[in-house]
Amino acid sequence: MCTSFKQDLFNGLHAFGTSVVRGTTAADSFKAALYLVSGSLGAATTAYGTTSEVSGTGYTAGGTTITSWNAPTTSGTSAYTTPTASFAWTTVTLSTAFDTVLVYNNTASGKNAVSVHTFGSQTVTAGNFTLTMPTNAAGTALLQIS
């Protein structure tokens, strides 16, 4: 597979199917939502859903908007991108343990899933939860096609 093609995939350049109609050249809007330990998100997750999403004071269903992404780039035979800022929830209370964040396309009508990331189980009480992004580089970027 050509490395440039991998980068093109991030940029939405190719359409092998006929189901997607893009009406704009603007980047899509993506969001990040938190899920309970009891949830079962993974590679089979296809879209955002409210089942097992966290709830609590200060948390809005659907999660937080990812403000921007680093421009998709390549290194070696990998293409990758990472959000430019952390995901943050401030002054929230999430009493039931959660360990998963779902990144999804909020522009797509189907709220299509992008990726699922897990971490150690957490709760938050009248506090803040911040998810800091990994280094935007081959091998560590949040999204990578190798």
Partner: protein
């Protein structure tokens, strides 16, 4: 003294018992802080730094080979 947001409103840090911890492994570096009044948890914050590429919950790598 710093003011801490708690379940009872903002409180002076000096009035609270503070506990901190870290998780440092292959996929994350996490710090958390808790404040208590006696045994009552009144504040907990956590900061997770992801270290690696996505790994789905079922252990399948997020990369496409």
């Amino acid at each position: 003294m710093a003011m801490i947001t708690t379940t009872h409103g903002d409180m002076d840090e000096s009035l609270l018992m503070k506990m901190e911890g870290t998780i440092d492994n292959k996929v994350e570096y996490t710090t958390w802080v808790e404040y208590y009044i006696g045994t009552e948890l009144v504040h907990r914050s956590a900061h997770v730094t992801l270290k690696e590429m996505p790994t789905f919950a079922d252990g399948v790598s997020g990369s496409i080979g």
